[in-house]
Structure formats: C-alpha cells, structure tokens
C-alpha cells in the first residue's frame, strides 16, 4: 500500500472511531473534509502558490484546520512556505471551511508525515527551513509501532503534546478501508472496490445504466456512496485519472466476462442488459474473484467471449 494512503487512512482512523487505534483527532473534533484538494495560498504580497494536502480535517470545536502532507523523500521549500503561511481566508476561498467561520481566530495546523527510515533528510531540511523562515512546520515520523514528532511544533496543543511523546499504534489495527486506493495505485487495489460497486448495480433492478462517475462518486439511484471518497471535490485532472483507471477495469470485466450483460454506450457509459438472480450471482461472483486474482498475479485475462459469464447464467436459469 502506498505510504500516502497509509498516512491518510491512519489519520482518518484517528478522526472517527477505530477500535484499538488512537482517537487524537476525534478528541479535538477534527473531521475529514477533503482529500487532495488544491489550495491557493498567498505566501507574500506578490506571490501565491498551490499546495495539495493529502487530507484536510476541520474542527468546529477548535476552529482549526489540519493540513496533512505525506512525504517520503524530497522537500520543496516553496511548498513548505505554502503550508506555513496558509490562512483561513485561503481555505474559505476554496470552499473547504464555512464562509462564516471566525477567520481571525482560525488556526491552520499544517503537519508533515514521513515513514520511519526517511526522516533524517526531511528532518534536517524542515529544521533548516523553520530556522531560516522563522517557521514552526512540524514533521511527524511513523513506524509500525508509533508516531512521534521529529521537527517543528504542531499548532494544536493536544496533538503537539501527544506527538512530542510517542503515540503508540499497532500494525494489526492500522485502518485501510477509508481510502483504499488512489489514481496511481496498483490495479488489484482498485479492482476490489470497483467490483463491489459493479456487483451492487448488477443486483439492483432500479439501475439500468451507469457511468464511471456513478461508480466513483455514487449512483444517483442509490443512497450509497461510490468507491472514491469525495470524488466530486477532487480536481479535474485527478478525476480524469481516476475515471481512466476505473474505465479500464470495467472494460476488462465486460470484455472478458460480461459482454452480453453490459454494453458500452460511450467513453464512460454503460447499459445493463439484465440483473443477477439465483445461481447467476454465484457465477458472476466467481468470475469477479477470478479477475481479481489474475490481476493480482499479473496474469493474462481470458480471451474475449470465451468466458462469457452471462451465457452460463442463462444456461443455469434454463
């Protein structure tokens, strides 16, 4: 799993309830409001820059916003300046916090996270940056067992105190489900959530067609979410990348297994010819499991139409 996703899931886990996992962010009232949302920050009177935190948490209780940047190697001083200088006005302008928030009293809490083993260079770079710019940008280092502050200070007192010691965590309880993939995750990581949504459509009589945006962001006919949290709030380029990855998977499933059940009607649009019942569910489920296993092992998919599941489903029903 990508390090950025590990950090994001770990912190979302701290903001909701995960048994056996610290609830530091929840205690401070932080809730996830956006993922990978670009923010325009005024870094001096004549210059602005864009920063793109992996996750953004807002606390009504504390009137604070936590900006999470997951780092594994390189340090960009301009980006760091953006994090250090971000204000409530910048967040309001991007629609990340409510416009009626007390902007003067609002505290933006930037925080860099890096995996254990990569912290030495980053810690030195951030330390130098803080010294030169009179900044306080923090770096929190995480391993499989703990999280601790390696540089700077966290602008939320509770979080600072906690990370300044060691926050004990456990690999066995590390959350993974909140953001299971992003646009450059391996195909096998994306396949599971996409197949999950596709199966819902194949079981739901009220859904006769769907688009890639339905799979990602939630179908208008269902009350349930899509497989990409905050899809509509992602930037256009990120959405395009995700659309492309999901489309690739849906098309592979359609061509290799379901060509008589799903018809492609546009670049990112499909129509269902029917819905699954009885043994058809088991047959398609086995096909999906086979697909995921083949993708995981990097093996070739069955040739088109030689393994058409609907043919079997119809035969079963007959």
């Amino acid at each position: 799993v990508k390090e950025e996703l590990r950090v994001v899931n770990a912190l979302i886990g701290m903001s909701v309830g995960v048994p056996g996992w610290p609830q530091l962010l929840k205690q401070e009232g932080f809730r996830l409001v956006a993922l990978e949302q670009e923010i325009s920050v005024r870094i001096d009177p004549a210059r602005r820059c864009l920063i793109k935190p992996e996750a953004i948490f807002f606390s009504v209780d504390r009137n604070q916003t936590l900006l999470v940047e997951a780092k594994s190697a390189s340090f960009n001083p301009k980006q760091a300046l953006g994090y250090a200088k971000a204000t409530a006005a910048d967040l309001v302008a991007m629609g990340l916090v409510p416009p009626d928030v007390d902007q003067l009293g609002h505290v933006v809490v930037p925080c860099y996270f890096a995996p254990f083993g990569h912290e030495d260079d980053l810690s030195t770079s951030i330390g130098s940056f803080n010294h030169e710019r009179d900044a306080d940008l923090p770096l929190v280092v995480y391993s499989n067992h703990s999280m601790y502050l390696a540089a700077g200070s966290v602008r939320n007192r509770t979080l600072h105190t906690a990370f300044d010691g060691h926050v004990a965590i456990s690999e066995a309880t590390w959350p993974t489900t909140f953001v299971p993939f992003d646009s450059d995750s391996p195909k096998c990581d994306i396949a599971g959530p996409v197949v999950q949504v596709l199966m819902q459509y194949l079981l739901n009589d009220e859904i006769n067609n769907f688009t890639v945006d339905d799979i990602a962001g939630g179908h208008t006919s269902t009350a349930t979410d899509g497989c990409v949290r905050y899809f509509q709030r992602l930037g256009p380029s990120k959405r395009a990348q995700i659309r492309s990855r999901i489309t690739e998977i849906v098309e592979e499933l359609r061509i290799s297994y379901l060509s008589n059940l799903i018809t492609r009607t546009g670049n990112h649009d499909w129509v269902l010819a029917g819905h699954l019942r009885g043994r058809g569910i088991t047959t398609v489920n086995q096909a999906f499991q086979e697909y995921r296993a083949l993708v995981e092992q990097g093996q070739a998919l069955p040739p088109p139409r030689q393994r058409d599941v609907l043919g079997q489903v119809v035969a079963d029903d007959d």
């Binding site: 799993v1 909140f178 990581d189 197949v195 199966m199 079981l203 349930t224």
Partner: protein, 381 residues
C-alpha cells in the same frame, strides 16, 4: 396426511383483534388433528418469526414469492398467507422494517417456509446474538439451549471432533447441543455452565425460555422460547403477554439497528467524515487457523453469511474484502485476521449484516468473542 381441524377458521381473522381467537387455539391446545381415522388433541406451539425486511409498497411482492397464496384481511397491513403445505401464517407488517409472522403450523413446515421467506432479496431473519439475548429480561428464566458447530472452513477443530466425524461418515462433527428446560434454577445454571464448561463458553446461546405471569391476571401465563434466529415459540394462556414480549424484542432490535446505522456507519456528513469501525474479536485463541479459507467461505454468497465479493491479502495473515450483502445489495467492507473481524459499514447500508455476522461467528466459530459495539447489544429490557 394429517388433517387439522381447528374450531376457529383463519378466515375469521379480519384484523389484529381477531388474532387471539385464532392463534389462542394453539396456546390452549383447543384443536385437533385427524390422521388415519384417529383424532387427537394437538398442542403445537404458537410461533412468531421476527423478520428484518426492506419492503417495497405494502410488502405483498416479497410475500408472494415465498408463499403459495397471500390474502388481505380486513386490515391493510395484516396479511393471511398459505404455504404449499396449506399451513396458515399471519404477517403483521405494521412495522415495515421489522414485520412479524404468526403461525400455529407445525414447526418442521413453518421453519422451512420462513427460511424461504428470509432468504429472499430484501428479507432476512432478525439475528439475536448471545449478548443481546442474555441482556433481555422477559420474566423468569426457566430454560436455555446452547449450539455450536464448526462447519465453516479455516477453523480449528479438535482431533476428537475430526475422529467423531470420520466414525459417523460425515465431513464435520455433529453440532454440540445442550438443553435445559422447565428448571427453576435455570438462570444460575446458565451462568455456571457458560463459565465452567469449555464448550459452554464456545457455544452460542441458541435460545432462552422465559415464563411470564406478570400482568396476565391471576391464572394467566406465557412461556416464550426466544431463539437466536428470531423465532419465538410460545405456549400458555396469555396471548397479550406473548405479544408484549414480541414487541419488546422488536423494539430492542430496532434500537440496535438504528444505533449501528446512525452511530457507527461511516458517513460523509456536512461537517466531515464520521462513524466508527466495528470489531468482533475472537477471544478463544487459535480458533481461526486459516483466515484465507474463512474469507473464501464468507464471500462465496453461501448461507448463513450471504455476502459476495472479492478480497486480497493486505499484510501477512490479514485480508480485506470489498463485499456486497445479498440481503439488500448494500456494500460492506470486512477485514479479517486470526484475531478479529473488522467491519466498515458505509452509510446507507443495512446494519442487519452485523447481527448476522456476529450470530454466525458465535454459532460456527466461537461464542467467546468481544465486540466494540457491546453497548448496542446490551439490551435495556
């Protein structure tokens, strides 16, 4: 073929007020069965099945698929249904989420029919896990029953069990069952047997039997046997007391589902993401020897789990499954290791999957479990 002669016809039931006269025949053993020219008095228990349903319209569509014939009574939300054996059922859909079905037919027939009803898309049993059952108080406890059987793949089974299965020519050992009935000290024995016997700790509480006399008049009583699978079998003299217990269990169950859906499901609210993951820890060490095989079983679509989907190993011995609940087609995400099952219930998904998972973990893996949602299961009866 036995012909049942009941003084009160099911056709006489035109509303809820008429149910007592018809169903009370069973409570009071007032009807007869004729078989091969002989007539005998019959004492078949009154059965009430608790169902969790997502009914479209008045729910007749759901019933029509499972029953031979469905008729209206005089009440729009009370249906008379017949199975293919001719047994009669009264389906009370006043609560559309948790309808209940009354019958005085023979258990071997009605259990099979109700299994058919609750296996349909949109329907499910009400699953009453041990912790929820043990938290109820419906009068004086006079009996209990334990159940356990490891028929699920990937679990530890003792050498003795395997040997027994081999001797019996079966693929798995017969289920462990233990019943105590009509016993004045049942509550004390239940606690001590669960504490002292290894099998008592491992086994699920299959049913609890209560005797309720309070509020039924000087000579009235009801004996309700409440099963973990949502059946309440009754005999006695007080229909209102039985109904009172049914309503109490239904209220507890509805509260539990709503707490799980409103308090735990992961949702993206206006103020950000909230909710909680739900854990079931296996307190019996070593019960899961092969989580991959267990995960295979769970997401195969088979009863009792009714889940389909795919899974992957995320770290050694830890599996993440993106699944769909065949009950209503809702998504649910599971993580499984040798120590625990963790459930991510998305907003909008039906929480009955949690109850189904927990009860069947108790029945088929181990009842020595701890959960992160004990507060939900701790009934307030």
């Amino acid at each position: 073929m036995a012909r049942i002669v009941r003084p009160v016809s099911p056709l006489a039931v035109r509303g809820r007020a008429d149910l007592e006269a018809y169903l009370g025949q069973s409570l009071l053993s007032e009807y007869f069965e004729r078989q091969e020219g002989r007539t005998r008095q019959v004492a078949t228990s009154l059965k009430t099945y608790m169902v969790e349903a997502h009914l479209a319209g008045d729910g007749r569509g759901l019933l029509a698929n499972a029953f031979e014939r469905v008729e209206n009574t005089g009440d729009d939300l009370l249906f008379r249904a017949y199975d293919n054996s001719g047994e009669v059922y009264f389906v009370d859909a006043l609560d559309p989420r948790l309808p209940h079905v009354h019958t005085i037919g023979h258990t071997n027939v009605t259990d099979a029919t109700m299994a058919k009803v609750t296996r349909q898309p949109g329907a499910d049993r009400c699953w009453l896990p041990s912790r929820l059952l043990l938290g109820t108080q419906l009068g004086r406890l006079i009996g209990f029953r334990f159940f356990h059987q490891r028929t699920v793949a990937g679990l530890f089974d003792s050498e003795e069990s395997r040997q027994l299965a081999k001797e019996l020519g079966r693929t798995s050992a017969p289920p462990f069952r233990m019943s105590v009935s009509e016993y004045a000290h049942a509550d004390r024995e239940l606690a001590s047997l669960r504490e002292l016997l290894p099998l008592g700790r491992r086994a699920a509480v299959d049913s609890l039997s209560w005797r309720t006399a309070e509020g039924t008049g000087s000579d009235g009583f009801i004996h309700d046997q409440v099963w973990g699978t949502g059946k309440i079998a009754a005999y006695g003299t007080s229909w209102p007391a039985h109904l009172n217990n049914v309503f109490l269990l239904r209220d507890l169950y509805r509260d539990a589902l709503e707490l799980l859906e409103d308090g735990y499901a992961i949702r993206d609210a206006e103020t950000g993401t909230e909710g909680e993951l739900l854990n079931i820890w296996f307190a019996e060490p070593g019960v899961v020897v092969d989580p991959r095989a267990l995960m295979d079983h769970i997401c195969s679509g088979q009863e009792p789990f009714r889940l389909v989907g795919t899974y992957a190993e995320t770290s050694p011995g830890r599996y993440l499954g993106h699944l769909v609940d065949l009950h209503v087609g809702d998504p649910v995400t599971l993580e499984l290791s040798k120590d625990a099952l963790r459930v991510h219930l998305p907003a909008g998904s039906c929480a009955n999957v949690l109850m189904r998972l927990l009860l069947n973990v108790e029945r088929h893996l181990t009842a020595e479990v701890a959960t992160s949602f004990d507060a939900v299961l701790a009934a307030r009866a």
